[in-house]
Symmetry: C2
Subunit: 223 residues, 2 copies
DNA sequence: TCAAAAGTGTTAACTTTACACCCATGG
DNA sequence: CCATGGGTGTAAAGTTAACACTTTTGA
């Protein structure tokens, strides 16, 4: 039994040097055949976060991902059938090649597909607005939440980390300054391992020390 | 005709060197006689922001105040009668002595009263959680939204401004450093006026140049 | 041996922090 | 003339920004 409100998910991954968002092609009116953020009604006896997890699983096959609430939208005209309140979330997944193939298992959508966040097709409802808000928030939260790390595998190189920062901030950064700053924070653990399978000099791998990260940023506000 | 969701408002003002929140004493079950954030069901044909404005007006007699959405709460157990989704907002008002007297005009509450934000009575529902989240958000947003200025009259002294910053950040700041920094930003207009009615040297008055403020902070993110 | 990306240091500009006294005013 | 808060500068420490070349590796 469905409640009267929905959740919509901005599911983000990082692939080929780009930030990507998972969109679903709708198979239902209104906006049939349009691309939209994955979302659906929350069940009556279901916690909102569990609905987000369910939608995430239905669309990507993934569980246990980082998520955070974004904003709620309840405009009287946002849905042609009358006001439907939606609570927007974002979720960050570790996209590798094995996870690129999506397999939507519901019948209210035809397919799901990853798009570069700054090059999406026209979206249903107010979903473009939701996506834009999400990107703006990520830029701010990047400074005090482990957002970049949730988009990367457990072990990563500094170049990969820099590319994620650049993708979210939508600008290029200086390599030396970036590495110096990251290493000075003290929450990166340098591993005794290097990349494998590359045709050039293999880069050192690092891990996030989440305890130190959170400690570092828990009280970071202006002044 | 009411919709099935509510808005709850963290209404904040600044008075006597302290950040204060307006609380309402409930006159209805559940939580009859408890203090709570002002809030109510949104009407079916009413925009959510208009509901917030309505509640604000009912509780304070004020219109045209700064407000912003905070977060939505939809826990299955947050309301004893079953899940009721609420969208929490905060609103910032310019509290002067003429506005301190509150006059709730609804019958679902007995009275409204201003409390220091860090010394509130036990609150109904999950309202303490909402208030705490609000204070945390304000600390972050203070750095890039004109929050402090919305709590002050149009013309204010630098000491008043510093007190607001201190109230929100919940710590004391160095007077010289604060003034230097604020004046360097360049968004304060120094007026040719000074305070009146004080028994000591009158302080210079300033105004916010909102255009310059927004320009200054529109692109402020880490790196 | 070449192509590709890894890795590395210094300097100048700017920002932040710490700190204490004299001044102007009204009562 | 005194109590109260208004107003002001400097130096040291820390952070950010700009900038280019050598090294390692696998194919």
């Amino acid at each position: 039994m469905y409640s009267n409100f929905t959740v919509d998910c901005v599911i983000l991954g990082f692939h080929e040097g780009e930030l990507k968002v998972l969109l679903a092609e709708r198979n239902e009116y209104p906006f049939k055949d349009w691309w939209a953020l994955p979302g659906f009604f929350v069940d009556n006896d279901e916690e909102m976060e569990d609905a987000v997890k369910r939608i995430l699983y239905e669309n990507t096959g993934l569980k246990d991902v980082f998520m955070d609430q974004l904003h709620s939208f309840a405009g009287l005209k946002r849905h042609p059938k009358g006001r439907i309140l939606t609570v927007a979330y974002y979720a960050l997944v570790q996209l590798d090649n094995t996870k690129l193939k999506t397999k939507p298992v519901t019948n209210y959508m035809k397919q799901a597909k990853w798009f570069p966040v700054r090059n999406v097709p026209e979206l249903a409802f107010d979903h473009k607005q939701i996506l834009d808000l999400c990107l703006e928030r990520l830029q701010r939260r990047l400074a005090y939440k482990p957002i970049a790390f949730e988009l990367l595998p457990e072990k990563f190189t500094l170049t990969q980390l820099q590319l994620v920062y650049e993708g979210i901030l939508n600008k290029t950064l200086d390599k030396r300054n970036f590495r110096k700053k990251m290493q000075n924070y003290g929450f990166l653990k340098e591993l005794d391992e290097v990349q494998t399978g590359v045709a050039y000099r293999a880069a050192r791998l690092y891990k996030l020390d989440k305890r130190k990260f959170l400690k570092h940023f828990q009280n970071t506000v202006a002044f």
